[in-house]
Amino acid sequence: MVLHARHLKIKRFNPEKDTKPWWGEYDVEVQPTDRVLDALHEVKWHHDGSLTLRRSCAHGICGSDAMRINGHNALACKVLVKEYKGTITIEPLLGFKVLKDLIVDMDPFFAKYRSVMPYFVNDEAPPERERLQLPEQRDRFDDTTKCILCAACTTSCPVFWSDTEYVGPAAIVQAHRFIFDSRDQGKEQRLEILNEKSGVWKCRTIFNCTEACPRGIEVTRAIGEVKQELLLRRF
């Protein structure tokens, strides 16, 4: 096991003690194939126990540890230390209130998510067995079912940083997953929500969300498809 020394620069802020943020600088020994999350754990477990972050599954499925690593959003558990040269700078996500160190307030994010009716709607009595759906009908929304609600997309969006009302890419992705599901019946209501001022028309096709998505979802495209659906519905 070959260990390499790496320098981490982490933005620290504890509202109980600090009036403004400060850089915590740490030298840790890690393997090059370690995740950035492993390096953060090395700091927390063996250098400074007060470093605070969220994490759980550590392989990019639970969506807890989205943060800014060297200036752009990523999951700390889905990037390896060796992908970065020199100092690794780690900061909390933009656009949400920083609660402590790398932890931001996710409640507004989930409130936006809940506002788009992110659940299956079909009031007909279900059949005894499964409802039928052809593979190509299912493929239509496959991409957006991958979303793990990590907020990397929403917090990378310049429109979202400035406009508190925009529902943000993640919520639209979640709506897309149902709008294009052939079994769902809530499409019109969802489209109506996204047709509002705070909805899809706020999207300026910047692609930061697509670039930030750790699951490789074509987020901007999903938003574009919803826009197209709204447009087609009108004419």
Binding site: W45, D48, I61, C62, L80, L99, D101, E130, L134, R138
Partner: protein, 583 residues
């Protein structure tokens, strides 16, 4: 702060959310407490599929599923529970589909099914032989993710109350009746008292007692250990499943779905070695057998590149199959190993994966305290933290998802009934100061001056458990592990932490979790040391045979003032007499 709610669900994975949904549909006021946000729960990382004998692709019957479950569990399965599991799997799958879960489909639009390890049907040519059956419904290789999302979505639809980032630290029991929980609001550090008629623990597993594990950092056995300290035994703790295909040294899971789709296991000499160990099912044998086979190959010097791993080979599957059916796990190989699964072999080793043991319950998820099935009224457990026991000594692939859904659902239904019944009796009164124990424990850790570091203790425990209580176990190793754990527990009492703040004090909470892990590691080692046979996930090198005469029984480990006390509980056998287990 004091909250009063009829039904409390602790943990927001598949079991907890399904129970909450059932309670909510029945009009029972319910709150879900999660130490994270619900969508972070570990159910989301389940990959391969969820079995139910729908027979969409070929003839299948729930009895066959039940039989496979019992045989897979090396006959330590309680067969009445296995029957419920196999029967209700079918209705549960249809219910999930009706909730909108995007399962993969057959060309004619029905639910597609794939093979999975240990799931078989009789060979039509030779009924004595058993061949793999298409039984696992799936959504690419993110079945668990889709289940978690779908259930959370439905909970939103049915206005379930969520307390996110509320970490439950204690169970309130008064006169043999469960009356609620004590939880800390992680954001503020404030202690909250939740007064309830019925409490469900769906807190998940505890793979973090091991160093190489597929489990999330949050899987620290909170619920199991909290109940244990309040007098509930831990059942069958020595049975821990090691999944054969974890990414070498990282433990990240490469789903059995890869082998279901036709991937091979090959050793350093390029041989498909499973042909020797399980001639009929080969790579689709149960996980305990494959894990042992891998370790045996490595020990015989046939590891890949002369090292302590073997290979998973998916190259022959082709890009189309991989992109359509295994996109996530192949992404893991690319990200974490910098290898291309289309051209390279993938180094793998067994990784600690699933706890067959946990909080003992009956078939309605009610917690029971002993072999007489004495209930702890108002207390329920479901999911990986519970032990019904449908998995016995070894769980079959996909049965974890079936378990959390079937028994999570049953828990919700029975809790609703119990809450209605309690209406006549009235609420159980709370003890005078239910938070005192928790507050004391927190103060001890925050003010601790002993200088011991939680990170070091955790690391040592995990290494010890992986090395000495892993796929194969021996008396000397287990004794040494027992001594190490008790030494670590002493050191744990001299813990110091650096973070003294109230809000988001994860330093403190991780220390509390470590205390629970140490309890669990202890009962695991002691259970393994006592059980002098090999059965399912528990393989003793000094007792290589299964011993039904002495050991066809469940272990119950109790927390007493004199340390851990082991008792035993008989296995329920209804249909299938134990036979030799061959694949």
């Amino acid at each position: 702060m004091i909250h009063t709610i009829d039904a409390l669900v602790v943990g927001a994975g598949g079991a907890g959310l399904y129970a909450a949904l059932e309670l909510s549909k029945r009009g029972v006021p319910v709150a879900v407490l999660s130490k994270m946000y619900p969508t972070r729960s570990h159910t989301g990382t389940a990959q391969g599929g969820i079995c139910a004998a729908l027979g969409n692709l070929e003839e299948d019957h729930w009895e066959w599923h039940m039989f496979d479950t019992i045989k897979g569990g090396d006959y330590l399965v309680d067969q009445d529970a296995a029957e419920i599991l196999a029967r209700e799997a079918i209705t549960t799958i249809y219910e999930l589909e009706h909730m909108g879960l995007p399962f993969n489909r057959t060309p004619d639009g029905r639910l597609d099914q794939r093979f999975f390890g240990g799931h078989t049907r009789p060979d039509p040519q030779d009924p004595a032989k058993r061949i793999p059956v298409h039984r696992a419904c799936y959504a690419a290789d993110r079945t668990g993710h889709m289940i978690l999302q779908t259930l959370y979505q439905q909970c939103i639809k049915h206005a379930v109350n969520f307390y996110n980032e509320f970490h439950v630290l204690d169970l309130i029991v008064k006169d043999g009746v469960c009356a609620g929980v004590v939880a800390v609001e992680v954001r503020t550090g404030e202690l909250h008292r939740f007064h309830a008629k019925a409490v469900l623990f769906a807190t998940g597993g505890f793979g973090k007692i091991f160093s190489v594990t597929s489990n999330a950092h949050s899987l620290t056995g909170d619920g199991v250990a909290i109940a244990y300290r309040r007098g509930v035994p831990m059942m069958d703790m020595e049975f821990f499943q090691f999944h054969p295909t974890g990414i070498y040294q990282k433990g990240i899971l490469l789903s059995e779905a890869a082998r279901s789709e036709g991937a091979y296991l090959v050793n350093g000499k390029g041989e498909r070695f499973m042909e020797r160990y399980a001639p009929q099912l080969k790579e689709l044998a149960p996980r305990d057998m494959i894990s042992r086979s891998i370790v045996q190959e490595i020990r015989a010097g046939r590891g890949g590149d002369g090292k302590d791993y073997v290979f998973l080979d998916v190259r022959h599957l082709g890009k189309a199959v991989i992109d359509a059916k295994l996109p996530d796990i192949m992404d893991f190989v690319r990200v974490y190993m910098s290898r291309d699964p289309l051209t390279d072999l993938i180094p793998i080793e067994p990784t600690a994966h699933y706890a067959m043991g946990g909080i003992p319950t009956d078939n309605d998820a009610r917690v029971i305290l002993d072999s007489q099935r004495t209930p702890l009224h108002g207390f329920y457990a479901a999911g990986e933290c519970a032990c019904v026991s449908v998995h016995g000594a070894n769980r079959l692939g996909t049965n974890s998802l079936v378990d959390i859904l079937v028994f999570g659902r049953r828990a919700g239904i029975d809790m609703a009934r119990y809450c209605a019944d309690r209406d006549g009796v009235g609420w159980t009164e709370l003890p005078a100061h239910p938070e005192d124990d928790t507050r004391g424990a927190i103060t001890r850790i925050v003010n601790g001056q002993g200088g011991e570091n939680a990170g070091n203790i955790r690391k040592q425990m995990q290494t010890e458990m992986t090395q000495k209580c892993g796929v194969f176990r021996g008396k000397d190793d287990l004794r040494s592990a027992r001594d190490t754990i008790s030494e670590l527990k002493e050191r744990y009492d001299r813990l110091s932490i650096q973070d003294k703040s109230k809000g988001f004090n994860t330093d403190l909470l991780e220390a509390m979790e470590l205390g629970w892990l140490l309890d669990i590691a202890e009962t695991t080692v002691l259970g393994a040391l006592a059980r002098e046979e090999s059965r399912g996930g528990h393989a003793r090198e000094d007792f290589p045979k299964r011993d039904d005469a002495h050991w066809l029984k469940h272990t119950l480990a109790y927390h007493t003032e004199d340390g851990v006390v082991l008792q035993y509980k008989p296995v329920t056998i209804t249909t299938y007499e134990p036979q030799e287990r061959k694949y």
